[in-house]
Symmetry: C2
Subunit: 195 residues, 2 copies
Protein backbone atom coordinates (compact mmCIF):
# COMPACT_ATOMS: atom_id res chain seq x y z
CA UNK A 1 0.00 0.00 0.00
CA UNK A 2 1.38 3.49 -0.77
CA UNK A 3 3.02 5.12 2.23
CA UNK A 4 0.50 7.97 2.38
CA UNK A 5 -2.41 5.51 2.64
CA UNK A 6 -0.85 3.89 5.70
CA UNK A 7 -1.50 7.03 7.70
CA UNK A 8 -5.23 7.11 6.89
CA UNK A 9 -7.32 7.79 9.99
CA UNK A 10 -10.66 6.88 8.46
CA UNK A 11 -10.56 3.55 6.67
CA UNK A 12 -13.35 2.03 4.62
CA UNK A 13 -12.79 -1.57 3.57
CA UNK A 14 -14.78 -1.90 0.37
CA UNK A 15 -16.36 -5.15 -0.72
CA UNK A 16 -13.37 -7.42 -1.47
CA UNK A 17 -12.20 -10.82 -0.13
CA UNK A 18 -12.22 -10.53 3.69
CA UNK A 19 -8.66 -11.93 3.80
CA UNK A 20 -7.53 -9.01 1.66
CA UNK A 21 -9.52 -6.61 3.85
CA UNK A 22 -7.50 -7.86 6.82
CA UNK A 23 -4.24 -7.47 4.88
CA UNK A 24 -5.17 -3.89 4.04
CA UNK A 25 -5.93 -3.26 7.67
CA UNK A 26 -2.59 -4.65 8.79
CA UNK A 27 -0.84 -2.01 6.70
CA UNK A 28 -2.68 0.95 8.21
CA UNK A 29 -0.80 2.40 11.14
CA UNK A 30 -3.31 3.85 13.53
CA UNK A 31 -6.83 4.27 12.15
CA UNK A 32 -9.39 6.16 14.24
CA UNK A 33 -12.27 4.43 12.53
CA UNK A 34 -12.54 1.27 10.45
CA UNK A 35 -15.72 0.68 8.47
CA UNK A 36 -16.39 -2.25 6.22
CA UNK A 37 -18.69 -3.55 3.47
CA UNK A 38 -19.23 -7.14 2.37
CA UNK A 39 -21.69 -9.24 0.35
CA UNK A 40 -23.54 -12.60 0.07
CA UNK A 41 -20.61 -14.13 -1.88
CA UNK A 42 -18.16 -13.72 1.03
CA UNK A 43 -20.74 -14.44 3.71
CA UNK A 44 -21.36 -17.80 2.07
CA UNK A 45 -17.88 -18.70 0.82
CA UNK A 46 -15.48 -17.05 3.30
CA UNK A 47 -17.46 -16.84 6.51
CA UNK A 48 -14.54 -17.61 8.85
CA UNK A 49 -12.24 -15.01 7.33
CA UNK A 50 -15.09 -12.52 7.29
CA UNK A 51 -15.87 -13.05 10.98
CA UNK A 52 -12.15 -12.60 11.71
CA UNK A 53 -12.14 -9.30 9.81
CA UNK A 54 -15.30 -8.15 11.59
CA UNK A 55 -13.46 -8.50 14.89
CA UNK A 56 -11.35 -5.49 13.83
CA UNK A 57 -14.15 -3.36 12.42
CA UNK A 58 -15.98 -0.46 14.12
CA UNK A 59 -18.83 0.00 11.65
CA UNK A 60 -20.26 -2.58 9.28
CA UNK A 61 -22.31 -1.22 6.35
CA UNK A 62 -24.36 -3.90 4.58
CA UNK A 63 -27.86 -4.45 3.26
CA UNK A 64 -30.82 -6.01 4.97
CA UNK A 65 -30.55 -9.41 3.26
CA UNK A 66 -26.84 -9.61 4.11
CA UNK A 67 -27.54 -8.94 7.81
CA UNK A 68 -30.06 -11.80 7.87
CA UNK A 69 -27.69 -14.10 5.98
CA UNK A 70 -24.69 -13.27 8.15
CA UNK A 71 -26.64 -13.90 11.35
CA UNK A 72 -28.72 -16.76 9.92
CA UNK A 73 -31.75 -15.12 11.52
CA UNK A 74 -34.88 -13.72 9.81
CA UNK A 75 -35.79 -11.12 12.44
CA UNK A 76 -33.77 -8.01 11.67
CA UNK A 77 -33.44 -6.79 15.27
CA UNK A 78 -32.22 -10.17 16.49
CA UNK A 79 -29.97 -10.55 13.44
CA UNK A 80 -28.45 -7.11 14.06
CA UNK A 81 -27.73 -7.95 17.66
CA UNK A 82 -25.95 -11.14 16.54
CA UNK A 83 -23.86 -9.17 14.02
CA UNK A 84 -22.89 -6.57 16.67
CA UNK A 85 -21.68 -9.48 18.82
CA UNK A 86 -19.18 -10.32 16.04
CA UNK A 87 -17.26 -7.11 16.71
CA UNK A 88 -18.67 -3.95 15.10
CA UNK A 89 -19.97 -1.37 17.58
CA UNK A 90 -22.27 0.00 14.90
CA UNK A 91 -24.23 -1.79 12.19
CA UNK A 92 -25.60 0.27 9.30
CA UNK A 93 -28.36 -1.63 7.49
CA UNK A 94 -29.14 -0.38 3.97
CA UNK A 95 -32.71 -0.97 2.77
CA UNK A 96 -32.70 0.69 -0.65
CA UNK A 97 -35.77 2.83 -1.26
CA UNK A 98 -36.84 2.20 2.35
CA UNK A 99 -33.83 3.94 3.85
CA UNK A 100 -31.32 2.92 6.48
CA UNK A 101 -31.41 1.50 10.01
CA UNK A 102 -28.43 2.04 12.33
CA UNK A 103 -28.03 -0.36 15.25
CA UNK A 104 -25.72 0.12 18.23
CA UNK A 105 -25.80 -1.80 21.49
CA UNK A 106 -28.23 0.64 23.07
CA UNK A 107 -30.03 2.43 20.26
CA UNK A 108 -31.65 2.17 16.85
CA UNK A 109 -31.83 5.03 14.35
CA UNK A 110 -34.10 5.01 11.32
CA UNK A 111 -33.41 7.29 8.33
CA UNK A 112 -35.78 7.28 5.36
CA UNK A 113 -34.71 7.32 1.75
CA UNK A 114 -35.72 10.50 -0.04
CA UNK A 115 -38.90 9.90 -2.07
CA UNK A 116 -37.85 10.81 -5.62
CA UNK A 117 -40.03 11.42 -8.63
CA UNK A 118 -37.35 10.37 -11.07
CA UNK A 119 -35.00 7.49 -10.37
CA UNK A 120 -32.85 7.08 -13.47
CA UNK A 121 -30.44 4.45 -12.18
CA UNK A 122 -29.96 3.10 -8.64
CA UNK A 123 -26.47 1.80 -9.50
CA UNK A 124 -23.94 3.14 -7.02
CA UNK A 125 -26.48 4.33 -4.45
CA UNK A 126 -25.05 2.07 -1.73
CA UNK A 127 -21.47 3.07 -2.46
CA UNK A 128 -22.40 6.75 -2.56
CA UNK A 129 -24.10 6.31 0.78
CA UNK A 130 -20.93 4.77 2.25
CA UNK A 131 -18.79 7.54 0.77
CA UNK A 132 -20.99 10.32 2.12
CA UNK A 133 -21.23 8.58 5.48
CA UNK A 134 -17.45 8.15 5.84
CA UNK A 135 -16.72 11.59 4.43
CA UNK A 136 -18.99 13.24 6.96
CA UNK A 137 -17.36 11.41 9.88
CA UNK A 138 -13.85 12.18 8.62
CA UNK A 139 -14.69 15.84 7.99
CA UNK A 140 -16.19 16.35 11.44
CA UNK A 141 -13.66 14.02 13.11
CA UNK A 142 -16.34 13.09 15.62
CA UNK A 143 -17.70 9.63 16.35
CA UNK A 144 -20.55 10.35 18.75
CA UNK A 145 -23.90 8.62 18.24
CA UNK A 146 -25.37 11.97 17.21
CA UNK A 147 -22.69 12.49 14.55
CA UNK A 148 -23.21 8.96 13.24
CA UNK A 149 -26.91 9.79 12.85
CA UNK A 150 -26.08 12.95 10.90
CA UNK A 151 -23.55 11.03 8.80
CA UNK A 152 -26.28 8.49 8.00
CA UNK A 153 -28.60 11.23 6.76
CA UNK A 154 -25.70 12.86 4.91
CA UNK A 155 -24.94 9.57 3.15
CA UNK A 156 -28.63 9.22 2.29
CA UNK A 157 -28.64 12.76 0.87
CA UNK A 158 -25.67 11.96 -1.37
CA UNK A 159 -27.20 8.65 -2.50
CA UNK A 160 -30.44 10.44 -3.38
CA UNK A 161 -28.51 12.57 -5.87
CA UNK A 162 -26.62 9.64 -7.41
CA UNK A 163 -29.81 7.87 -8.51
CA UNK A 164 -31.11 11.00 -10.29
CA UNK A 165 -28.79 10.42 -13.26
CA UNK A 166 -26.49 7.78 -14.70
CA UNK A 167 -23.02 7.15 -13.28
CA UNK A 168 -21.52 10.16 -11.47
CA UNK A 169 -23.25 12.70 -13.71
CA UNK A 170 -25.43 14.22 -10.99
CA UNK A 171 -22.62 14.30 -8.39
CA UNK A 172 -20.26 16.01 -10.85
CA UNK A 173 -22.45 19.08 -11.06
CA UNK A 174 -23.68 19.06 -7.46
CA UNK A 175 -23.32 22.24 -5.36
CA UNK A 176 -22.93 22.43 -1.60
CA UNK A 177 -26.10 24.50 -1.29
CA UNK A 178 -28.05 21.70 -3.01
CA UNK A 179 -26.66 19.26 -0.44
CA UNK A 180 -27.69 21.56 2.43
CA UNK A 181 -31.13 22.06 0.88
CA UNK A 182 -31.74 18.31 0.59
CA UNK A 183 -30.50 17.71 4.14
CA UNK A 184 -33.16 20.19 5.29
CA UNK A 185 -35.72 18.27 3.24
CA UNK A 186 -34.79 15.12 5.12
CA UNK A 187 -35.45 17.01 8.34
CA UNK A 188 -38.84 18.20 7.06
CA UNK A 189 -39.61 14.65 5.88
CA UNK A 190 -39.19 13.16 9.36
CA UNK A 191 -40.19 15.90 11.80
CA UNK A 192 -43.07 15.40 14.23
CA UNK A 193 -43.92 16.78 17.68
CA UNK A 194 -44.44 15.02 20.99
CA UNK A 195 -47.80 13.49 21.93
Amino acid sequence: MPESYRKAEYVFLANIDPELQLEVLNQVERPKLIACDTMNFWIEGKREALVRTLGHVDILVINEAEVRQLADEANLVKASRAVLAMGPKTLVVKRGEYGVLVFTEHSIFSAPAYPLEEVFDPTGAGDTFAGGFMGYLAATNNLSDETIRKATVFGSVMASFTVEDFSLNRLRKLSWSEVEERFRRFQALTAFEGL
Copy 2:
Protein backbone atom coordinates in the same frame (compact mmCIF):
# COMPACT_ATOMS: atom_id res chain seq x y z
CA MET B 1 -77.61 3.13 9.63
CA PRO B 2 -78.47 3.66 13.33
CA GLU B 3 -79.43 7.25 14.11
CA SER B 4 -76.45 7.79 16.44
CA TYR B 5 -74.00 6.82 13.69
CA ARG B 6 -75.44 9.48 11.38
CA LYS B 7 -74.03 12.19 13.61
CA ALA B 8 -70.48 10.84 13.48
CA GLU B 9 -67.94 13.62 12.89
CA TYR B 10 -65.01 11.33 12.11
CA VAL B 11 -65.89 8.67 9.55
CA PHE B 12 -63.67 5.83 8.42
CA LEU B 13 -64.96 3.88 5.44
CA ALA B 14 -63.45 0.44 5.88
CA ASN B 15 -62.58 -1.80 3.00
CA ILE B 16 -65.99 -2.66 1.46
CA ASP B 17 -67.54 -2.21 -2.00
CA PRO B 18 -66.99 1.46 -2.94
CA GLU B 19 -70.70 1.76 -3.87
CA LEU B 20 -71.58 0.78 -0.30
CA GLN B 21 -68.97 3.22 1.02
CA LEU B 22 -70.79 5.99 -0.85
CA GLU B 23 -74.16 4.82 0.53
CA VAL B 24 -72.74 4.92 4.05
CA LEU B 25 -71.45 8.40 3.41
CA ASN B 26 -74.82 9.61 2.16
CA GLN B 27 -76.32 8.69 5.54
CA VAL B 28 -73.85 10.67 7.62
CA GLU B 29 -75.09 14.18 8.29
CA ARG B 30 -72.10 16.43 8.59
CA PRO B 31 -68.74 14.66 8.98
CA LYS B 32 -65.69 16.77 9.77
CA LEU B 33 -63.37 14.17 8.31
CA ILE B 34 -63.86 11.24 5.96
CA ALA B 35 -61.11 8.67 5.64
CA CYS B 36 -61.21 5.56 3.53
CA ASP B 37 -59.53 2.22 2.88
CA THR B 38 -59.75 0.04 -0.22
CA MET B 39 -57.93 -2.88 -1.88
CA ASN B 40 -56.74 -4.45 -5.15
CA PHE B 41 -60.10 -6.24 -5.62
CA TRP B 42 -62.07 -2.97 -5.85
CA ILE B 43 -59.34 -1.09 -7.71
CA GLU B 44 -59.49 -3.72 -10.42
CA GLY B 45 -63.20 -4.58 -10.41
CA LYS B 46 -64.97 -1.35 -9.37
CA ARG B 47 -62.61 1.37 -10.44
CA GLU B 48 -65.31 3.85 -11.54
CA ALA B 49 -67.30 3.55 -8.32
CA LEU B 50 -64.10 3.78 -6.30
CA VAL B 51 -62.98 6.96 -8.07
CA ARG B 52 -66.47 8.40 -7.42
CA THR B 53 -66.13 7.59 -3.72
CA LEU B 54 -62.63 9.08 -3.58
CA GLY B 55 -64.09 12.38 -4.75
CA HIS B 56 -65.78 12.63 -1.32
CA VAL B 57 -62.85 11.45 0.80
CA ASP B 58 -60.37 13.61 2.75
CA ILE B 59 -57.80 10.93 3.62
CA LEU B 60 -57.12 7.69 1.76
CA VAL B 61 -55.24 5.01 3.73
CA ILE B 62 -53.90 2.19 1.50
CA ASN B 63 -50.73 0.20 0.98
CA GLU B 64 -47.90 0.87 -1.41
CA ALA B 65 -48.94 -1.70 -4.03
CA GLU B 66 -52.49 -0.33 -4.04
CA VAL B 67 -51.25 3.23 -4.65
CA ARG B 68 -49.27 2.02 -7.67
CA GLN B 69 -52.19 -0.04 -8.96
CA LEU B 70 -54.73 2.76 -8.49
CA ALA B 71 -52.53 5.27 -10.32
CA ASP B 72 -51.16 2.74 -12.83
CA GLU B 73 -47.72 4.20 -12.15
CA ALA B 74 -44.65 2.47 -10.70
CA ASN B 75 -42.98 5.55 -9.18
CA LEU B 76 -44.53 6.08 -5.76
CA VAL B 77 -44.19 9.88 -5.73
CA LYS B 78 -45.83 10.24 -9.14
CA ALA B 79 -48.46 7.64 -8.25
CA SER B 80 -49.29 9.48 -5.02
CA ARG B 81 -49.70 12.75 -6.87
CA ALA B 82 -52.11 11.05 -9.28
CA VAL B 83 -54.14 9.61 -6.38
CA LEU B 84 -54.31 13.02 -4.65
CA ALA B 85 -55.73 14.40 -7.92
CA MET B 86 -58.67 11.97 -7.52
CA GLY B 87 -59.92 13.86 -4.47
CA PRO B 88 -58.19 13.04 -1.17
CA LYS B 89 -56.17 15.92 0.31
CA THR B 90 -54.02 13.41 2.18
CA LEU B 91 -52.75 10.00 1.10
CA VAL B 92 -51.40 7.66 3.78
CA VAL B 93 -49.25 4.93 2.22
CA LYS B 94 -48.70 1.85 4.41
CA ARG B 95 -45.47 -0.05 3.80
CA GLY B 96 -45.62 -2.78 6.44
CA GLU B 97 -42.31 -3.24 8.26
CA TYR B 98 -40.93 -0.21 6.39
CA GLY B 99 -43.40 2.23 7.93
CA VAL B 100 -45.71 4.83 6.45
CA LEU B 101 -45.44 7.72 4.00
CA VAL B 102 -47.97 10.55 4.13
CA PHE B 103 -48.41 12.66 1.00
CA THR B 104 -50.22 15.99 0.80
CA GLU B 105 -50.09 18.50 -2.03
CA HIS B 106 -47.09 20.28 -0.56
CA SER B 107 -45.38 17.84 1.79
CA ILE B 108 -44.26 14.30 2.44
CA PHE B 109 -43.90 12.76 5.90
CA SER B 110 -42.05 9.51 6.56
CA ALA B 111 -42.70 7.48 9.72
CA PRO B 112 -40.74 4.29 10.37
CA ALA B 113 -42.24 1.09 11.68
CA TYR B 114 -40.94 0.14 15.11
CA PRO B 115 -38.18 -2.48 14.80
CA LEU B 116 -39.48 -5.37 16.89
CA GLU B 117 -37.61 -8.38 18.14
CA GLU B 118 -40.71 -10.52 18.26
CA VAL B 119 -43.40 -10.31 15.61
CA PHE B 120 -45.96 -12.98 16.47
CA ASP B 121 -48.59 -12.15 13.90
CA PRO B 122 -48.85 -9.13 11.57
CA THR B 123 -52.59 -9.73 11.05
CA GLY B 124 -54.54 -6.58 11.82
CA ALA B 125 -51.55 -4.23 11.84
CA GLY B 126 -52.99 -2.09 9.02
CA ASP B 127 -56.43 -1.89 10.63
CA THR B 128 -54.91 -1.07 14.03
CA PHE B 129 -52.89 1.67 12.34
CA ALA B 130 -56.07 3.12 10.82
CA GLY B 131 -57.89 2.90 14.15
CA GLY B 132 -55.11 4.62 16.06
CA PHE B 133 -54.74 7.25 13.34
CA MET B 134 -58.47 8.11 13.29
CA GLY B 135 -58.77 7.89 17.05
CA TYR B 136 -55.95 10.38 17.54
CA LEU B 137 -57.51 12.86 15.09
CA ALA B 138 -60.97 12.49 16.65
CA ALA B 139 -59.60 12.84 20.19
CA THR B 140 -57.63 15.99 19.40
CA ASN B 141 -60.28 17.30 16.99
CA ASN B 142 -57.52 18.96 14.99
CA LEU B 143 -56.70 18.36 11.33
CA SER B 144 -53.48 20.35 10.90
CA ASP B 145 -50.57 18.81 9.02
CA GLU B 146 -48.70 18.58 12.32
CA THR B 147 -51.54 16.68 13.97
CA ILE B 148 -51.81 14.33 11.00
CA ARG B 149 -48.09 13.58 11.45
CA LYS B 150 -48.60 12.81 15.14
CA ALA B 151 -51.67 10.70 14.31
CA THR B 152 -49.51 8.74 11.84
CA VAL B 153 -46.93 7.97 14.53
CA PHE B 154 -49.71 7.21 17.01
CA GLY B 155 -51.24 4.71 14.56
CA SER B 156 -47.79 3.18 14.05
CA VAL B 157 -47.35 2.88 17.81
CA MET B 158 -50.66 1.04 18.14
CA ALA B 159 -49.88 -1.25 15.20
CA SER B 160 -46.50 -2.09 16.75
CA PHE B 161 -48.34 -3.50 19.78
CA THR B 162 -50.89 -5.49 17.75
CA VAL B 163 -48.19 -7.58 16.04
CA GLU B 164 -46.62 -8.54 19.39
CA ASP B 165 -49.32 -11.13 20.05
CA PHE B 166 -52.21 -12.86 18.31
CA SER B 167 -55.53 -11.14 17.71
CA LEU B 168 -56.27 -8.29 20.15
CA ASN B 169 -54.42 -9.94 23.03
CA ARG B 170 -51.73 -7.27 23.33
CA LEU B 171 -54.13 -4.34 22.94
CA ARG B 172 -56.46 -5.76 25.60
CA LYS B 173 -53.81 -5.41 28.30
CA LEU B 174 -52.18 -2.25 26.98
CA SER B 175 -51.75 0.73 29.35
CA TRP B 176 -51.61 4.39 28.41
CA SER B 177 -48.12 4.75 29.85
CA GLU B 178 -46.91 1.98 27.53
CA VAL B 179 -48.35 3.91 24.60
CA GLU B 180 -46.60 7.11 25.71
CA GLU B 181 -43.34 5.23 26.24
CA ARG B 182 -43.42 3.73 22.76
CA PHE B 183 -44.29 7.10 21.21
CA ARG B 184 -41.14 8.48 22.85
CA ARG B 185 -39.21 5.56 21.38
CA PHE B 186 -40.43 6.54 17.93
CA GLN B 187 -39.05 10.02 18.62
CA ALA B 188 -35.70 8.59 19.72
CA LEU B 189 -35.70 6.31 16.67
CA THR B 190 -35.95 9.21 14.20
CA ALA B 191 -34.20 12.15 15.89
CA PHE B 192 -31.17 13.79 14.29
CA GLU B 193 -29.70 17.29 14.40
CA GLY B 194 -29.04 19.81 11.62
CA LEU B 195 -25.89 19.65 9.48
